[in-house]
């Protein structure tokens, strides 16, 4: 809306120059993806041929990667842990955000400030106690070990509290008069009203866990329990002579996030703006 009024005042030749500049920059931004995907479709002897479209494109590398079995295991590990963490975050972060936004009780502000303050503690400082804790309780090399630190997040609580603030109190009071239990008021009345915020939180949590590297690297040493990034890291350092396989592995770990982005682009960009400007 504001952009259109600005636009009509601009000079035409300048416009073409600006557009070309932006387009060239944009192409440079996706060049690594183009090379990654094109190389993953090449045979070993064509890897150093710089052509975008391979002379003889083949899916053989992908077949070989998944026939190995390890990559499929890593893929499943990532898929299961990221999904479970996302479900937990959606449930708990929205429940806490709702409670802190809609109930008045002593200690409310203290709880909120305490949760917010956890955002200031860098993960790097926590991984060592987490590791000691995991090794003590036998959580190393388990799904639970990979997942437990992320099950509830301070950022999500903050985001959901902001959004539940926009749900009118009258609606909740009306539901109480109708005799709904407090839990069902949250679940059936309030939650559907913040669906856009929930989807943004879901996408960010899933992608964040899918791409996470430091903690999964620390907590897993059994190759069968690696997540995709940890597996790729070990796979790639073993296969430095076979760049077409390294690129196939990179593509397999990146393509799901690209698909999520293409489908949910609008939510993701809105989510970045909302969380970014308020954060």
């Amino acid at each position: 809306m504001t952009a259109t009024t600005k636009q009509f005042r601009a000079i035409r030749p300048g416009r073409i120059f600006v557009w070309t500049l932006l387009a060239l920059g944009g192409i440079a931004m996706i060049t690594p993806f183009v090379f990654m995907i094109s190389t993953s479709l090449k045979t070993p002897d064509q890897v150093y041929d710089l052509r975008f479209i391979p002379a003889m494109p083949t899916l053989r590398n992908y077949v070989e990667l998944f026939e190995d079995g390890r990559f499929s295991a890593w893929f499943i590990n990532s898929l299961v842990t990221s999904t479970l963490v996302t479900l937990s975050v959606l449930f708990f972060d929205s429940l806490v955000g709702y409670t802190l936004s809609k109930y008045r009780f002593r200690g409310r502000n203290l709880v909120f400030i305490a949760i917010l303050s956890t955002l200031m503690i860098p993960t790097e400082m926590l991984v060592i106690p987490w590791y000691v804790m995991s090794s003590h309780f036998g959580w190393l090399d388990s799904y639970w070990g990979i997942m437990f630190p992320g099950l509830i997040t301070g950022f999500g609580v903050f985001l959901m509290r902001q959004f539940f603030g926009t749900v009118p109190d009258e609606l909740i009071d009306a539901a109480r008069i109708d005799g709904l239990s407090e839990f069902r008021i949250w679940w059936e009345i309030a939650l559907p009203l913040v669906a856009p915020a929930l989807s943004a939180l879901a996408i960010f949590t899933f992608l964040g866990n899918w791409t996470a590297f430091l903690w999964p690297l620390i907590v897993t040493s059994d190759r069968d329990l690696f997540t995709v990034p940890v597996g790729l890291s070990s796979f790639a350092s073993e296969n430095l002579t076979r760049w077409e396989m390294v690129m196939t592995g990179a593509a397999v770990s990146t393509i799901p996030t690209l698909i999520v982005f293409i489908i949910f682009q609008k939510y993701i960009i809105r989510g970045v703006v909302l969380s970014g400007l308020k954060g």
Partner: protein, 297 residues
């Protein structure tokens, strides 16, 4: 039942609220606050991973400050920040400033810049590592040789390795910065620009006198978020240097990689946590400075 019947409505609500908060509050205590305190304690001790820990006072800290390798790593970490921050902010501002004026394919171009932000840093580190390889493998050296320029060692050079590792980190974060800048630019009321144009003010003056001053909160936010990101760099270094060691000769090793090595290669948890305390204090100082600046506005 009796207890419940005797409660007032607001007491019942408070009880419900605490019931809802029970699991999360325990979670935050066990998984965030307790480990934070433990971290501070471990940094004052020595001992095996599972066995008893011996209190050694500030020994880990004196050892750290006397260790030349720690200072190399400390300087490297700030080098990532000192190059990464200005370069990424300049590039993202230029992109956002022009993209704001374009309507044709605006969404598509924005998506091109944003895609790297969402992808796996590990995968992209390996793609970039491949680009930096010598001829005939690496893309960059192939291009250089095609146009007749000398080959570059990139990751194998003491001088070039750190910027080479930093490049994919800047590339990956650019889209986020562009989106935030775009939102900041949109928030500036059009009336300011109209008034300036009626007065016949030139483009550069509008940029310096109106756009940039009004973008100050956005800029401040990005400075803090990006600084924290560059100071915590790890994924790229671990995956782009030989055996994840931050070489050649520690030239690219940042603080987080040193922490990782102390803890999970040497199993010196006390020494590693002492280093995490340094990271924590640096990041805290940046956040506090941001809050101060925002309040003084």
């Amino acid at each position: 039942m009796l207890l419940r019947d005797n409660m007032t409505i607001s007491q019942k609500r408070a009880a419900t609220a605490w019931l809802f908060l029970l699991v999360p509050v325990i979670f935050f205590m066990v998984v965030r606050f307790w480990p934070t305190l433990q971290s501070a304690w471990i940094s004052l001790t020595e001992g095996p991973l599972m066995g008893p820990r011996e209190f050694v006072g500030i020994d880990n800290y004196t050892r750290m400050f006397a260790d030349p390798e720690f200072w190399t790593v400390f300087i490297n970490t700030f080098e990532y920040l000192a190059i990464g921050l200005p370069v990424s902010l300049f590039l993202s501002f230029v992109v956002a400033y022009f993209l704001d004026q374009v309507r044709l394919m605006h969404g598509f171009i924005r998506a091109l810049y944003f895609v790297p932000y969402l992808t796996t840093a590990v995968a992209m580190a390996w793609v970039w590592r491949w680009f930096y390889e010598p001829v005939p493998i690496g893309l960059f050296n192939q291009i250089l040789s095609t146009v007749g320029l000398p080959q570059q060692p990139f990751l194998r050079s003491m001088a070039q390795a750190l910027p080479s590792v930093l490049a994919p980190a800047i590339w990956a974060g650019l889209g986020f910065q562009v989106i935030i800048f775009l939102a900041g630019l949109r928030a500036i009321p059009d009336t300011y620009y109209e008034a300036a144009r009626i007065d016949g003010v030139g483009r550069w003056t509008i940029l310096w006198e109106i756009t940039l001053p009004l973008l100050k909160p956005t800029l401040l936010f990005l400075v803090v978020v990006s600084s924290i990101g560059f100071l915590r760099i790890f994924d790229q270094v671990y995956n782009m240097t030989v055996d994840g060691q931050g070489g050649p000769l520690n030239a690219t090793r940042p603080l987080v990689l040193n922490i990782y090595n102390s803890a999970f290669v040497d199993y010196e948890m006390g020494y590693a946590t002492a280093q995490t305390m340094v990271l924590f204090i640096v990041l805290l100082a940046i956040t506090v400075a941001q809050l101060r600046l925002l309040r003084s506005k």
